[in-house]
Amino acid sequence: MPHDNDTNKSIPGQPKLELRHITKRFGKEGAGVLAVDDCSLSVENGEFVCVVGPSGCGKSTLMTVGAGLEDATEGDVLIDGEPAGPPGPRRSVVFQKFALFPSETVEQNIKFGLQMTGVPKSEQESRLVSQLRIMGLEHFRKAYPSELSGGMQQRVAIARALVMQPEILLMDEPFGALDAQTRTILQEEVQRLHREQHYTVLFITHSVEEAVYLGDRVVVMTKRPGRIKKEISLPRDVVWKTGDIEEAAEHPDFITARREIWSLVREEIMAP
């Protein structure tokens, strides 16, 4: 299925999303907490970038700033080279805690953004139906979030983000609250979606394995205040990027990359 992203005019050499020298401080200068310190990061059109780092390193803050939900203390967020402005449907966000509206059914949740942005009714319906199919939610249209398992809830949240046909998809530890089995299945699902539809994704995680499996590029952050420690481009091996995660994890390149990134993260966790 062709997707809007493929038809988006992308300027060569111009990243889709760019975080330029982002610094985020909470509270007063000097006394407050410096969460993110001068982070620069860009995501090319159709690229899947994963950010890993120790807990509390400010990677979620970076995401919040990237989504426009918080203003950076210093620095700029750019989309196609222009200031990104307030949050909106160009950037969809998937939150760790799902953030589904408890008072709305699956259908209403997925349609929410379409209604807010004034998409015509008939198109709302067709987009909803295809998204329900893609995420395997056809039978849960009328269910309330509280009636679904965590994994199903996160599927709804992903569907709600994708149905907006966003230019950029921001995912903030989306599988952090799920059990291991559900997580594996959803990782494979997201991997498939990206492979088929070439979404531009910025993906925050604390799981090295997840980052190596999903990412085209992995950005390692230092512990607080969060800085960019290193960026690692992963070889796009056909076998590894199409197979299931079990299979991928046995690939020698996968093992090398995981080891390298894990040692970087461990350095940060163990650092005094």
Partner: protein, 264 residues
Amino acid sequence: MDRLPGSKSFLVGIAAIGCWVIVWWWLTRSGGPVPTLYFPSPEDVWTKFVRMWTRPYIGSTLLEHILSSLYIVLFGWAVAAVVGIPLGIAMAWWKKLKWIVFPIFQIIRPVPPLAWIPLTILWLGIGDIARMSVVFIAALVPWLMNSMLAVYSVDKILIDAGKTLGANDRQILTRIVCRTALPTLVAAARMALGNAWSTLVAAEILAATAGLGYVAVNASQLLDTDVLLVAMFMIAILGIALTALISLTQRYLAPWSVTSVQRG
């Protein structure tokens, strides 16, 4: 905690009530240890209850007294809702409004609503309006405070999610905040009605010409203990019924919250 399963605990409850009625009956039997002037027997209470439906007691039948009480409590409660809910939500939404209005409420809040009764009697007499105002004051504070808390209790992440999906401030307020806050508002409704009901009883004892509290205080002065007990039982039963009714509306107003409760 080992809890008894539903139907069994219901039977046990019935059995316990039965035990207590028997104890009551035994204590108040003719020639028993408790004189009926202080505590009438179950038969006396039942007879009076039946008779009060047809024969007026101090001016009205039992039904008329009940309707008078219900009319005033529901009216005061509803007006308090109309004022309290929008104001509470607005105070949570616009910080400045809260900073201005909240201190006034903080000053009024600790005064028991019924302490206003003498003032309302002086200002408004002993008519319906006086009692309605007292009920209004009693219900307003829970309405307002809980509407405010209901908005605060909406997870900030839902508002963030709304923003990223392109909702503007007004849409966030109406579609996300107000709807998500509904279950809390139902709880507020219950609390406000509880306060209103108990305050109304006090107001009717002090200044009324009808109503269950009025029946109770007159029965006490006329030493009609059986009538007094009828009034007290009716006050309890109506209080329970009204609260149960509000709990039922939650199923219709906020079905999602009910299912989530059932699934624990």
